[in-house]
Symmetry: C2
Subunit: 434 residues, 2 copies
């Protein structure tokens, strides 16, 4: 194979052959193709695109660059959910125990927060003792036993993606829909799933800022699933303002526990249930959406969902005491309250600014090497459309370092915009792509 000729073909807008794509991915993973050739190819792909056929092969080649999990010996349907990431997006944490309690097996492999979006692993690790680094044998054993496992990606799962992602990050080749879609789908399809539900976020706090790009990403991922023979459903959901009230790590666990107990903010509950319905339908354990909805409500009302989460926490080494008394979760010592400077109606509660502010505060990281402070974060007290009076709390900030508070506040002050006219938040679920 001549790598330069492959780069040239893509550069000139032609399609790459299947064997060519497989050789490129395998060669790069094996260090036979240097970074400088792969980065030129990635830029050509970003600017020229990949056809559906090319993308199916590209994703399949990535997926087979390492171990592929096989849970065919587990009778329950294997379904996972993936979110493209947002601010306050803790949905997975209440969602998967609810769905697992209804008889779906969920081998969930999650990521860490990067940039302004949080990560499920960081949130889970604010539960003292919770281990997310599981070897394949333990992962399989836990899935067999509890029907739910929440872990980080092992080194041997889709190594091509880890390498290509790291290269994209430093070569301006991140925002390519085929490359984003193949990165997500290769990892999820390597989990040996029967079906997958995607939460494609759209809005200021999401990777996709507009519905056109979000729809394109959703359709692209659904197409990859179809080519692979895995049923994929995508919901395109709003991320113009944070989801729920909590933005941080430990405080998002506390809010997730509220949902598992039948409470929690309405938007978070709504999205969690809609994704849960999609998972139960995809797993074939509910005959229709109404039945699925009833099963989820029953799982919460019976305490089975909460019990399932407790089972997982114990199985993965976490301290179950915090589940029953969330005040035991890590919390920064200081609180600052941003109040409304005037009477008015909330026009905007910007997810991006609040996400960046949370990183400044220490709740997230800008580089992979940074540590996360589980105890800092925000409680966002208002939603777009809320009527507030001067002096009402808008945001409560849990902080540890005055310098970081100051950095965060300067952003927070711009995140919430008050006005005098009625304001309406966008719909929580924009579209469903199947």
């Amino acid at each position: 194979m001549n790598v330069v000729e492959s780069i040239e073909r893509k550069r000139d807008g032609h399609a790459l052959a299947a064997e060519e794509i497989r050789a490129l991915i395998a060669g790069y993973t094996a260090d036979a193709i240097p970074d400088y050739q792969m980065s030129a190819l990635l830029m050509a792909i970003l600017l020229r695109g990949l056809s559906a056929d090319e993308l199916a092969v590209w994703t399949d080649a990535m997926l087979h660059s390492g171990d592929v999990l096989d849970f065919s010996h587990i009778a329950a349907p294997k379904v996972d959910k993936h979110s493209t990431g947002g601010v306050g997006d803790k949905v997975s944490i209440p969602l998967v125990p609810m769905v697992a309690a209804c008889g779906v097996a969920i081998p969930m492999i999650s990521g860490r927060g990067l940039g302004h979006t949080g990560g499920t692993l960081d949130k889970l690790e604010s539960i003292p003792g919770f281990r997310t680094a599981l070897d394949p044998a333990e992962f399989t054993r836990l899935l067999e036993r509890t029907g739910l496992v929440l872990a980080g990606q092992s080194e041997t799962l889709v190594p091509a993606d880890r390498r290509i992602y790291a290269l994209r990050d430093v070569t301006g080749t991140v925002p390519s829909i085929p490359l984003i879609a193949s990165s997500i789908m290769s990892k999820k399809l390597a989990e040996g799933l029967d079906a997958l539900v995607l939460d494609v976020k759209v809005g200021s706090g999401a990777f996709m800022r507009d519905i056109v790009r979000a729809r394109e990403l959703a359709r692209t991922m659904v197409g990859i699933g179809a080519a692979h023979g895995t049923a994929v459903t995508a919901l395109i959901t709003d991320m113009s303002q944070p989801l729920g009230r909590a933005v941080g790590n430990a405080n998002e666990i506390a809010e997730s526990l509220e949902v598992l107990r039948g409470g929690g903010p309405a938007d978070l509950v709504e999205i969690t249930h809609q994704l849960g319905v999609a998972m139960l339908l995809a797993g074939g354990v509910a005959p229709d959406p109404d039945a699925a909805q009833r099963m989820l409500h029953a799982a919460v009302a019976s305490g089975n969902a909460f019990a399932k989460f407790e089972e997982v926490v114990i199985a993965q080494g976490g301290d179950p005491a915090v589940l029953h008394d969330p005040s035991l979760l890590p919390s920064a010592p200081e609180e600052a309250v941003v109040t409304a400077p005037r009477d008015g109606i909330v026009q905007r509660c910007d997810a991006l600014l609040l996400g960046v502010a949370a990183v400044r505060l220490g709740a997230g990281r800008m580089t992979k090497e940074e540590a996360v402070d589980p105890g800092v974060g925000f409680i966002v007290c208002v939603k777009v459309g809320d009527v507030v009076s001067a002096g009402d709390p808008l945001i409560r900030i849990r902080w540890r370092h005055p310098g970081r508070l100051a950095e965060a506040r300067s952003l927070v002050d711009h995140a919430i915009v008050l006005g005098d006219t009625a304001a309406f938040p966008p719909p929580l679920v924009h579209e469903r792509v199947v």
Copy 2:
């Protein structure tokens, strides 16, 4: 400076700022920017382009990445000529002694053959003893003394180009007009010239296959010259069939000597004189084209041009005996003759096929590391439009290894196409761009 942001800006079709371009070139030359970032940027430039302003700065930054020659102490006008490369394109060799004999100083820095096009350095080195690796002091001394020096590029001249070119070669980013133009012009402008004449080849044996691309390249280079304050004239000349009759190295020296003696093939003589006129006018030593033409004829007729070449050969260590007896030049021992299989008119005499065939024979190289055999090559006996009879020689092949002869012949047999209708070669000079 954030390199990723610069890549992203170019990727998205925006212009790079002057200081940004300078930092990118300097950073890459100093090993502060890795290959994988530069290759992504080069691919983005290839697909998005560079504006005239960006390109002027990009070229200037490359030009200043190393030594910049200064011959302002030499009173004579300093003019050089550069060809974009072709098959049988030995024009520089008879041209520059003719022009130098008319009072123009020529600090010519040439390249080696690569791919199907030959290189002036390889041809000159078929003169026994001729040294093309000169240090800057010797280069300057020879220019002062003889008004003409023919050398290879030193390590310290435009190091950014050497590195960027090597990277482009392996990342599919060669055929970008701004990158080609800046590569050529940075090297030529570093020679400290008053004026430059470009021979932009167009046709099957040229880098630019069509007149549109050739014109764009010519205009781009003339524009860079103008931005730099250096007068640049470009002729767009035909390279659909080889120039002259000789394709090789030593045989091209022999043909160049014919021109210096007042003979030689008509097409070669014509192009040489037209470029010579442009150089004399650019150097301000002739008042008009007719006068320039007369000066060139006089330089040949008087023997001054030949004497100038002999002076240079001696000054650079070459054996002057071969100039007087070209049979002393290296020559492969065997000759094969390709004859016309039928009566007919030459419809095509393909420069690309003959160029590739010459490489197969050993006259050129596909990688920089290969050695060149000075004694092998072709004499192309026909031009498009010639009437031939069955059995007439079409091409005489000087060869050394039977295997290489066989490889070359299979290409040569397809290079010349005979037909029954009249055929007309394209004009030798298509356009003039100033």
